[in-house]
């Protein structure tokens, strides 16, 4: 009986405080112990880390250039989200990490990334660094031969980091730009309603 009353009071309190649990379109990843850092080269050969983007939200996607549609549509969606957020985007940074460093040369990556967003940062590492980064972000990737070429199976979630560098969301490929923008707006909303 007391428990029920306490529960009701708690609910009432939560409603009054306006801190009803947020609803995300993507997968909530807040609090996970992985997905913290990478150390890879950008297309000009400079070493980049996730830490240097502190202060700005980040959308991170793993992919490769010879990818027929999941990669271009994911990057297109990220670019649309950035546009939809407008000034609220507060310098939203889109990052692409290639899972095909063998074919994705710095020049190819630079040309490719610029098509979607001139500020997109495209990163690559050697095989070991790529595998290490993918493991850190729990990204699966695997070369699969096709004809006399190969394709790469890979995790197609777009990770969203808040401005403090915390991994918060994984946005599946089937969500629309509008749905992802909704998540970003909620995430970037100023916390204190005092």
């Amino acid at each position: 009986m007391t428990m029920l009353r306490n529960l009701l009071l708690l609910c009432l309190g939560l409603i009054l405080a306006g801190c009803d649990r947020p609803h995300w379109n993507g997968v909530n990843m807040s609090g996970v112990s992985w997905g913290r850092e990478f150390r890879l080269q950008d297309t000009s050969g400079r070493e980049r880390t996730l830490a240097e983007f502190r202060g700005r939200p980040v959308m991170l996607f793993f992919g490769f250039v010879q990818c027929a549609e999941v990669c271009p549509t994911s990057l297109l969606r990220a670019a649309e989200v950035k546009k939809q957020l407008g000034a609220d985007g507060k310098g939203l940074q889109i990052i692409l990490i290639t899972v095909d460093p063998e074919r994705d040369t710095p020049d190819l990556l630079r040309d490719y990334a610029a098509v979607f967003d001139p500020e997109l940062v495209a990163l690559r590492g050697d095989e070991a660094a790529t595998r290490k980064t993918a493991d850190e972000f729990r990204v699966y990737y695997q070369k699969v031969p096709t004809g006399d070429s190969y394709t790469v199976d890979h995790t197609a979630l777009t990770y969203v980091f808040d401005a403090d560098g915390n991994l918060r969301l994984g946005e599946p490929h089937n969500l629309t730009a509008e749905q992802v923008t909704q998540d970003l707006r909620q995430l970037l909303k100023p916390k204190a309603d005092t």
Binding site: V65, Q66, C67, A68, E69, V70, P72, T73, L75, L76, A79, E80, R103, T105, D107, L108, D111, Y112, V115, F116, Y140, V144, T146, G147, D148, S149, T151, D153, H154, T155, A156, L157, G170, P172, H173, N174
Partner: protein
């Protein structure tokens, strides 16, 4: 005499084109995703409608060294792209090659595909009688950052 010869040749050419075009399939909105210079692969998308049951069993293009029919699947958020032996086209039903499903994969591209280019594709169909017929299609190159959700033209503005 000359005129007659030309007329005769033209008639022959028309007949040849018709003979090649006997596959009972209509191709709509064929397009290919443009590429950046060093890119060696891209996908082609379209809508196929056949008046009788048939099957898309192959494709080729003068713009690519290899052309395959691919199926894309998302399994536990992992993108998998696989070559498939063919795509069934039931009579009267429009089958869309689009995002999240099938596409024609152009590999070993011979050059950059620029927005607005017209990429020739030969589609090979096999009917119930195992006879093969082909159709020539020109796929328009849409921007690399075009959406592949459906047949509609939707670019960023």
């Amino acid at each position: 005499m000359n005129r007659l010869l030309i007329a005769g040749l033209m008639l022959l050419a028309t007949t040849a084109a018709q003979a090649q075009n006997t596959a009972p399939v209509t191709v709509k909105d064929a397009w290919v995703r443009a590429t950046v210079p060093a890119q060696k692969a891209t996908g082609a998308f379209m809508q196929l409608t056949s008046t009788e049951g048939t099957r898309l069993v192959g494709a080729s293009s003068s713009a690519a060294g290899t052309v395959e029919i691919h199926e894309m699947a998302m399994v536990d958020n992992v993108m998998k792209m696989r070559a498939v032996p063919g795509i069934d086209l039931p009579a009267g039903k429009t089958v869309e090659l689009k995002s999240g499903g099938y596409h024609v994969m152009l590999l070993a591209l011979k050059g950059q595909v620029r927005e607005g280019d017209s990429v020739p594709l030969t589609l090979v169909f096999e009917g119930k009688d195992k006879k093969r017929q082909s159709i020539e299609v020109k796929a328009a190159a849409r921007p690399l950052n075009a959406s592949a959700k459906g047949g509609e033209m939707k670019g960023p503005h």
